[in-house]
């Protein structure tokens, strides 16, 4: 049964990834200008360009080109960056890992903040804490990360000097865990803010609904109170919804991370993508988009599978 469910989900994921690959391949086709000219420069002779086209297979029919590209990609060969002349994979992977670090930190902050504030708001709906948190959610949820980032830098980096303003390590003698963690705080908070706000709102709504159900009334009639009521009786019923919300937020979180990287000069995939777009480095753009899409799809697959598992556990005898 479980194997069946995993296979079903995975088949759908494969279908989505096929669509992603078509779009990413299309980027190359729709990119303005001629690839051979872009690679060799405007002074190159026509025969040199023709030779390169022949080497790259650009004269072949488009479907053949797609499968050639797909074959190379599946083997990990994304081509060469026209800016750095490194292999694309060598460019993308370390940056991607830096982004994973930033996104994970942001996710942890968003979940801890979102879930605790959401539950606390629902526990005393309409109370002082609930009204305060609702107002803050409105404010922080509406802030775009590039603006919030600048505000945080102004106060916490320039005025109070608590945290560094940009980068991932100190220029000289940095790079240890403490140094990276220090650099991580402001960008992680920036990337987390909008998601945390949405999670607060959704978790609050889910909890309020569950707290209104009959079995909560029954538990109260049994003498169950406050903490146990929330954590033991309500939370397990909220878990699938909360996981779903978090799964959906991951997409925004990845997007927010990309913006944040540009603001804080965090050497991640977002910053790489930004530079690659400006430099018309198509192969790098393709690889970045593919990595982002792949992580998005796989994360959602994981969330779905966890939800399937929880629902099954509840239903099965």
């Amino acid at each position: 049964m479980i194997v069946h469910a995993i296979l079903g989900r995975t088949a759908r994921v494969a279908f989505v990834l096929f669509g992603v690959s078509v779009i990413v391949f299309g980027l190359l086709q729709f990119a303005p200008g001629d690839v051979a000219t872009a690679l060799l420069g405007p002074q190159a002779s026509d025969s040199a360009k023709e030779l390169l086209r022949e080497q790259l297979g650009l004269n072949k029919p488009i479907v053949t080109q797609y499968f050639l590209w797909l074959g190379n990609t599946l083997q990990g060969d994304f081509g060469v960056s026209i800016i750095s002349r490194n292999t694309v994979l060598g460019e993308v992977v370390p940056r991607f890992l830096n982004s994973v670090l930033l996104a994970s930190a942001a996710l942890v902050i968003a979940i801890i903040l979102g879930v605790t504030v959401g539950i606390a708001s629902a526990a005393r709906a309409g109370g002082f804490f609930d009204r305060t948190s609702s107002a803050s959610v409105q404010v922080f949820g509406a802030m775009p990360p590039f603006w919030l980032g600048l505000v945080l830098v102004y106060f916490f980096a320039l005025q109070f000097r608590w945290f560094p303003a940009t980068g991932m390590t100190k220029t000289f003698g940095g790079g240890d865990a403490w140094d990276i963690a220090n650099h991580l705080v402001l960008p992680a908070v920036t990337a987390a803010a909008a998601s945390a706000a949405v999670i607060v709102r959704m978790v609050r709504a889910v909890f309020l609904e569950v707290l209104g159900s009959d079995y909560i009334l029954v538990a109260r009639a049994r003498g169950v109170r406050s903490w146990r009521l929330l954590m033991h009786h309500a939370l397990p019923n909220c878990m699938p919804h909360v996981l779903n919300i978090i799964g959906l937020q991951l997409g925004y979180l990845i997007g927010g991370t990309l913006f944040t990287e540009v603001v804080f000069a965090w050497p991640g995939i977002g910053q790489l993508l930004y530079k690659a777009i400006l430099g018309r480095d198509v192969a790098v753009v393709q690889a970045c988009v593919l990595f982002i899409a792949l992580s998005f799809v796989l994360i959602n697959l994981a969330v779905d599978l966890i939800n399937d598992f929880l629902a099954r556990k509840m239903r099965q005898s």
């Binding site: 079995y215 029954v218 049994r222 033991h232 009786h233 397990p236 019923n237």
Partner: protein, 333 residues
Amino acid sequence: MKDLAQVEPILNVRDLRTHFEIKRGKLHAVDGVSFSVNPGRVLCIVGESGSGKSVTVMSLLRLIRRPGKVTGGTAVFHGDDLLTMSRQQLADIRGDRISMIFQNPLTSLNPALTIGDQVSEGLILHRGMGRREAQAEAVKLLRQVGIPSPKERVTDYPASFSGGMRQRIMIAAALSCKPELLIADEPTTALDVSMQAQILDLLKELQAEINNVLVMITHDLGVVASIADEVMVMYSGKVVEQAPVREIFAAPRHPYTQGLIATVRALDDASRPLHPIPGTPAIPLGQRMGCAFAPRCGFATDQCRLETPHLELVGSAHTVACHVKPDPDRTHV
């Protein structure tokens, strides 16, 4: 020999009032209800939907949610007022000395917790039992209420049980701490007929075994006849008649009670014509004047429309709130 009237009641409710603040005004769901229950007795609260039966018992345990609010009265349980005691005191009583069974077994069990968790929870909270000891006790309780192979099924989730089985599980959970007072809010309404009889038998049997007090809400007079010692009839948030069960059926004095009984008799005996009570139940909204039943009552006089009737003694333990108090033989509403 002690007279019945001198026995100290387990629960004494005086002038209980619960309001709901809704858009159209103040809804007097419970409007000055008083009653008491004595040890070892079964009290049935009868009335149509919306007459305030459920709100009355929910108010006693302070389980009313906004926009509802208990606004007055006392409910003295062993010398302490349930309505004013601290939350902690109340939580200690809930599920231990006073338990409740609800109407809908399908939504009353938590789908994310095993039935063993739910049946044993009261023992953990109120008896200080460890998890393992409480689970073992839960198996015994489940066997007692007739769950087959309880040892294997104690770790199952509610979804794998039928409605009737779930109500048995609810009963096991409610009785886990052997409460002195068990409140059952239409425990059989959501079940099919054959299941209803089984659940009622189970409740009767367990009540005799623990010798606790049972307060049961129902709108089924058949249930009343089979289980009740005392009957309290509610209409539009007020008690209209209260008497021992024999007297209610033999000599009802309130036209509403008479109407209820006439409809049931007609259902039992096909040769009798059916006498439905005309009109729809009164909604206890805003300022009220006169008897709430007057618009539907065949005996209503001008006094009924202007003056609210109060409960009066018409027998040794029989009270009725009616200006006319028509003779039961003239039963025709």
